[in-house]
C-alpha cells in the first residue's frame, strides 16, 4: 500500500486510487482555501474540471487531486493557507465581508489606503508557489488524419463506427464508454475500424495555420506532452460536465457532484442529501444506492448547507436534513468549449449551452460537427449521423 504525505503527515493510500480518494478516506475534506475569501474547499466534480481540489504535488503547483494517482512517497501540500489550511486566519475576509468584497470600489477615496489595499491584495494573490524545478520541453508529435472524433462516449463511439477506417477517436480517460459507464449501463465500446487513442485530452481546437493541408489543428495532451493533429474534419462528442447550484454553502467541503461520487473509489459516509429532481436525480440516486449510500432526495434549490464539512441541509421549505455529505444531481451541462472556441454557435437552453447543429450534426463551422450531450441530442443517432456526414 503506497504511503503519501499531506503537509508532511503520512497517509496510507490504496494502490491506483487518486490523491483525492486517499485524502477523503483518511477524513481530510479541506483540500485548499479559496482565492479571495479563504473559504475551505474540497473536491466537487472528481473529473478535473471544477478546480476545487487543486494541490501542490511533488513540487508542482495546483494539480487536481482528483486526477493524480497516488505513488509511494508522494508529497501533497495544501495551498493558499499561509498559516495552515485547516484554521486559516485569512478566512476573516469571508467573515468581514459577508456580502462579498467589491474590489472595484474598495478604498477608492484615499490614495494612501488604496496603496495599502494594493500591497495587501498583491501579497494575498495567487494560489500555488512556483514549481521547485525546471521542466524540459516534453517532446511533442504531429499527426495528419482525415477525421478526428473527440470523446469516446456513446456518441463518439457511434460516430467512429459510422466513419470507419481513417478516423481517429480520442478519449481523455483510460477507457472508452463515457459517463454512461458510471450507471452500469451497457455501452457498445466497439470503435469499429477507427483508431482509438486513450488518455488523450484535447485542450485546443484551432483553424489550421500550419503549411500542412487540413482545416483543423488540435492540441491533444498525453500526460506531459502534446500531440498536434491536423485534420480535415472534426466531430466533437465531449459530453457534459457536472454543475453546482448556487445556494449558500454549495462551495463548502462535503458537497459533491453526484456523478463525481460515482467515479470515486472511496465512500464519503453513508447518508447523502441528494439535491435534484427528474431523470438525472433518479438515475444518480439509484446508482449511488447500489454503492451502499442511503439518500434523502431534496427537490428544488436548498436554502443553505451547514457545517464544515457539510453535515446538514436546510430545504427551501425550512426542513433541516442531516447527512454525511451532499450530492448535487443536475443534468450535466454540454462541454461546448472546444466547439465554441473554434467558432461554433451555442445558445442557452436553461440548463447549459448546447452546440447548435443541423440534422446531420453540422455546426456553424463548415468542418466542425457535434454529437451527443454536447449538442443536446440523443447520443447514438446523432453520433451515427455526424460520423457519416463528416466522411462525405
Amino acid at each position: 500500500m503506497p504511503r503519501i504525505h499531506l503537509d508532511g503527515a503520512p497517509i496510507e493510500a490504496q494502490a491506483e486510487e487518486t490523491v483525492a480518494a486517499a485524502l477523503l478516506r483518511a477524513g481530510v475534506t479541506t483540500f485548499t482555501r479559496s482565492i479571495k475569501y479563504h473559504r475551505p474547499r474540497g473536491p466537487f466534480c472528481f473529473a478535473g474540471s471544477c478546480g476545487q481540489c487543486l494541490m501542490r504535488i511533488d513540487g508542482l503547483p495546483s494539480l487536481p487531486a482528483c486526477r493524480v494517482r497516488v505513488a509511494e512517497g508522494m508529497r501533497c501540500e495544501r495551498q493558499n493557507g499561509p498559516l495552515g489550511v485547516e484554521n486559516d486566519l485569512f478566512r476573516a475576509a469571508d467573515f468581514l465581508f459577508p456580502d462579498g468584497l467589491d474590489h472595484h470600489h474598495l478604498m477608492v477615496r484615499s490614495r494612501l489606503l488604496g496603496r495599502v489595499a494594493l500591497e495587501i491584495a498583491r501579497r494575498l494573490a495567487g494560489l500555488g508557489e512556483l514549481p521547485e524545478a525546471a521542466e524540459r520541453p516534453g517532446r511533442g508529435e504531429l499527426r495528419v488524419v482525415k477525421l478526428v472524433i473527440v470523446g469516446a462516449g456513446p456518441a463518439g463511439l457511434a460516430a467512429a463506427r459510422a466513419a470507419g477506417a481513417g478516423a481517429l477517436l480520442i478519449e481523455r480517460e483510460g477507457r472508452a464508454g463515457g459517463a454512461e459507464l458510471l450507471f452500469g449501463a451497457p455501452v457498445d465500446t466497439d470503435a469499429g475500424p477507427a483508431e482509438l487513442l486513450l488518455d488523450a485530452e484535447c485542450v485546443g481546437l484551432y483553424a489550421n495555420d500550419t503549411a500542412i493541408a487540413g482545416n483543423a489543428l488540435l492540441a491533444v495532451r498525453r500526460r506531459d506532452r502534446l500531440l498536434a493533429i491536423v485534420a480535415e474534419r472534426v466531430v466533437i462528442a465531449t459530453g457534459g460536465v457536472s454543475q453546482p447550484v448556487p445556494f449558500p454553502g454549495v462551495d463548502r467541503p462535503g458537497v459533491y457532484a453526484a456523478r463525481g461520487l460515482l467515479t470515486l473509489g472511496a465512500r464519503v459516509g453513508r447518508e447523502l442529501a441528494l439535491v435534484g429532481e427528474g431523470k438525472e436525480a433518479n438515475r444518480c440516486a439509484e446508482a449511488l444506492s447500489r454503492r451502499g449510500y442511503e439518500m434523502a432526495v431534496i427537490p428544488g434549490v436548498p436554502r443553505r448547507a451547514l457545517g464544515n464539512p457539510v453535515k446538514a441541509v436546510d430545504t427551501a421549505g425550512g426542513k433541516r436534513i442531516r447527512c454525511d455529505a451532499v450530492a448535487i444531481a443536475q443534468p450535466p451541462a454540454p462541454l461546448h468549449e472546444l466547439a465554441t472556441s473554434a467558432g461554433a454557435q451555442a445558445h442557452f437552453d436553461g440548463a447549459g449551452f448546447p452546440v447548435q447543429t443541423d440534422a446531420e450534426g453540422r455546426t456553424s463551422v463548415p468542418w466542425l460537427f457535434a454529437a451527443g450531450t454536447v449538442a443536446g441530442k440523443p447520443p447514438l443517432a446523432s453520433g451515427e449521423g455526424a460520423g457519416s456526414a463528416a466522411c462525405r
Binding site: 482565492i35 473559504r39 471544477c50 478546480g51 508542482l60 503547483p61 495546483s62 478566512r91 476573516a92 467573515f95 465581508f97 456580502d99 462579498g100 467589491d102 474590489h103 470600489h105 474598495l106 477608492v108 484615499s110 494594493l118 498583491r122 494573490a125 494560489l127 500555488g128 512556483l130 514549481p131 524545478a133 525546471a134 521542466e135 520541453p137 517532446r139 511533442g140 508529435e141 504531429l142 485542450v203 485546443g204 484551432y206 483553424a207 489550421n208 495555420d209 500550419t210 495532451r221 506531459d224 502534446l226 498536434a228 460536465v241 454543475q243 448556487p246 449558500p248 454549495v250 462551495d251 451541462a333 462541454l335 461546448h336 467558432g343 454557435q345 442557452f348 440548463a351 449551452f353 456553424s364
Partner: protein, 499 residues
C-alpha cells in the same frame, strides 16, 4: 468565526450571486462584460462550473434577451497545460504558416442582440468613433470642458478591442521625447485614477526590465537610457548579474545587459474603460455600446454626419479613435490612413503567489511577461511571420513559440500551466508613432490612432491634450503627428516597440 452565507457561483474566483446582481445593476449583464466585471470564468475551471449558473441568474432577472444568452468566447487551453508541453511541439506547428480567417461573433451575426432599441440623437457636437480607452478618455476630458454634446459609439461591449486585450504594461521607457512625456503624465494619472474616476485600476510599480540579447540592442538601450535620464527618468543600464538580483529566476546567460526603470509598472486594463465611461456619462456625455458606424458623410471638404446601424447623427466634429479599425473607419470618409492592423497574441497562466516584480521584455524576440495582481503570468511575443489583418483569433503556434522562449529564459516556469489565451490587434504605423490631429482636406475629421500597441499607456495624457486642443488651445503635437507627415516624409521613428 463562522462561514458567511455567500451563495458562490464561481468557486475559482469566489464570485457570488450578490456580485452578479451588482454587475447587472452596473449595466454589465452581457456575458462578456459580466465575466470581466466579476471575474467569473477566469479561474482554473475556465467557466465550466459557473457559466451556466451565471446565465441562469441573468435569464431569471431578464437581464439579457434570449438571442444574447450565449457563452462567453471560450479560451484555449480548455484544461490547464504546462508551458513545457507547448514548448515541445514539433517544428511543423511553428514553421511556415498560412493565414486563417477570424471567428464569427458568438451571437451569430448582424446587429448585436443587446443593441439598445432607442434611436441615437439626431445630432451631436462631437462624435467619437471607438469606445476604447482613447475614445472614452477623450469623452471624459471633453465633457469636463463644456465641449457640448459628446457621443461615443462602440461597436461591441466595452473592452472588446485592444484596450481590453492588452497585458496592462505601462512604462515611460521610450526613445522619443514626446512619448516619454505622454507616458510620464499618463502613469502619474493612473496613480490617482481611483480618486478621479472612482474605480481601482491596481497600478503596481514593479518596474520594467528590458533585456538586450545582442550588441545592436545593447546600443539601443544605452541610447534610450541616456535620453530617458535627460527627461527625468531613473532608467539605467544594468548587468545580467544585477538583473538576476531583481528577478532571480532569470537565466542570465541569455542576455548581455538590461535597461531598468523601477518606476514603470502594470495595471489592470478593464476598469479604465468602465471608469472613463461612467465618468464621461456623469459629466453628460453619451456612451453607446453595440452600435456600428456604417458611414461618414463628407461634403465641401467638411465632415457632416455619422451613419450608424441605429440611424444618422449630424456632427461637424468626428474623432476616429477606433484603434486597429481606424483605417477601416477613415475609408468611410474616403480617407486613406497608413495604419495597418496586426494580430498580437497573449496568454495568462495559472495564478501563482507573487514572485515577479517587474515586467520583463526581451527586445530582440518581442517576448514579454509580467505577473498580474491576481498572480497570473501574463505575456506575449511578436511573430515576424504574422500577416496584416483584423484577426482576433488564437493560435497553437503562438503558445508553442511563447512556451519555448519563456521556459528558456525562466526555466522554472516550464512546469507552470497556461490557462487562457487570446489576441488583439496592434494599430501599426510606418514609423511606429501615432496619428493625431485634423485630417487634411476633411475639416472636422480628427484622428487619434496609430499607437502600435502602446496606446493604452498614453491615453490619459493624449486625451487631456486632445480635449484642450479641440477647445482651442495650441499644441504642436497635433501638427507634428499629423497624418500628412507620411506624404511629406517627416517620419518620427520610435524603436522601443515590443510584442
Amino acid at each position: 468565526m463562522p462561514l458567511s452565507e455567500k451563495a458562490i457561483v464561481c468557486a475559482c474566483e469566489d464570485v457570488s450571486v450578490h456580485d452578479i446582481d451588482d454587475a447587472i445593476a452596473h449595466g454589465y449583464a452581457d456575458i462578456e462584460s459580466l465575466k470581466r466585471y466579476t471575474g467569473l470564468g477566469t479561474g482554473p475551471c475556465q467557466g465550466k462550473s459557473c457559466e451556466v449558473g451565471a446565465m441562469r441568474i441573468c435569464a431569471q432577472r431578464n437581464a439579457v434577451p434570449p438571442p444574447a444568452q450565449v457563452p462567453f468566447r471560450a479560451r484555449p487551453p480548455l484544461a490547464p497545460t504546462t508551458m513545457a508541453a507547448y514548448a515541445g511541439l514539433p517544428a511543423e506547428v511553428t514553421g511556415a504558416r498560412h493565414a486563417t480567417r477570424g471567428l464569427r461573433p458568438t451571437w451569430g451575426g448582424g446587429a448585436h442582440p443587446l443593441q439598445p432599441p432607442a434611436p441615437l440623437p439626431g445630432s451631436a457636437d462631437v462624435v467619437i468613433v471607438g469606445g476604447g480607452i482613447m475614445g472614452l478618455a477623450l469623452a471624459w476630458n471633453l465633457a469636463g470642458k463644456g465641449a457640448g454634446r459628446v457621443l461615443v459609439l462602440e461597436r461591441g461591449y466595452l473592452c472588446e478591442g485592444a484596450s481590453g486585450r492588452n497585458g496592462g504594461g505601462v512604462r515611460a521607457q521610450w526613445t522619443t521625447p514626446t512619448l516619454i512625456e505622454l507616458a510620464k503624465e499618463s502613469i502619474a494619472f493612473m496613480a490617482r485614477f481611483a480618486q478621479e474616476l472612482g474605480i481601482n485600476v491596481w497600478l503596481r510599480r514593479g518596474g520594467y526590465l528590458f533585456l538586450a540579447h545582442d550588441e545592436e540592442t545593447l546600443r539601443r538601450i544605452e541610447y534610450g537610457a541616456e535620453l530617458q535620464k535627460r527627461y527625468g527618468l531613473p532608467t539605467r543600464v544594468i548587468t545580467p548579474g544585477e538583473a538576476g538580483e531583481i528577478v532571480p529566476q532569470l537565466d542570465i546567460s541569455r542576455f548581455l545587459a538590461a535597461s531598468w526603470n523601477p518606476e514603470d509598472g502594470v495595471v489592470f486594463p478593464w476598469p479604465f474603460l468602465w471608469g472613463y465611461a461612467d465618468g464621461a456619462r456623469r459629466r453628460g456625455a453619451q456612451v453607446e455600446t453595440f452600435t456600428r458606424v456604417t458611414g461618414l458623410e463628407v461634403s465641401d471638404g467638411r465632415v457632416r454626419a455619422v451613419q450608424t446601424d441605429r440611424g444618422r447623427v449630424a456632427a461637424d466634429r468626428v474623432v476616429i479613435a477606433a484603434g486597429a479599425w481606424s483605417p477601416m473607419v477613415a475609408r468611410l470618409a474616403g480617407v486613406q490612413l497608413p495604419n495597418v492592423p496586426y494580430r498580437h497574441e497573449i496568454v495568462s497562466s495559472e495564478p501563482l503567489k507573487p514572485f515577479l516584480g517587474p515586467l520583463v521584455s526581451m527586445l530582440g524576440t518581442g517576448l514579454y511577461f509580467s505577473q498580474s495582481m491576481r498572480g497570473e503570468i501574463v505575456g506575449g511575443m511578436g511573430d515576424p511571420d504574422e500577416e496584416p489583418g483584423l484577426n482576433q483569433t488564437s493560435s497553437l503556434r503562438f503558445l508553442a513559440r511563447y512556451g519555448r522562449a519563456l521556459s528558456e529564459l525562466v526555466p522554472q516556469l516550464g512546469a507552470v500551466k497556461l490557462l487562457r489565451q487570446w489576441a488583439g490587434c496592434y494599430d501599426v504605423t510606418p514609423d511606429h508613432s501615432p496619428v493625431l490631429g485634423e485630417t487634411p482636406r476633411v475639416a472636422g475629421l480628427l484622428q487619434m490612432s496609430g499607437f502600435v500597441g502602446h496606446g493604452f499607456m498614453m491615453a490619459p495624457a493624449v486625451a487631456r491634450r486632445m480635449a484642450e486642443w479641440m477647445g482651442g488651445a495650441k499644441d504642436e503635437i497635433f501638427e507634428r503627428y499629423n497624418v500628412r507627415r507620411f506624404a511629406e516624409g517627416r517620419l518620427i521613428k520610435e524603436t522601443f516597440i515590443i510584442g
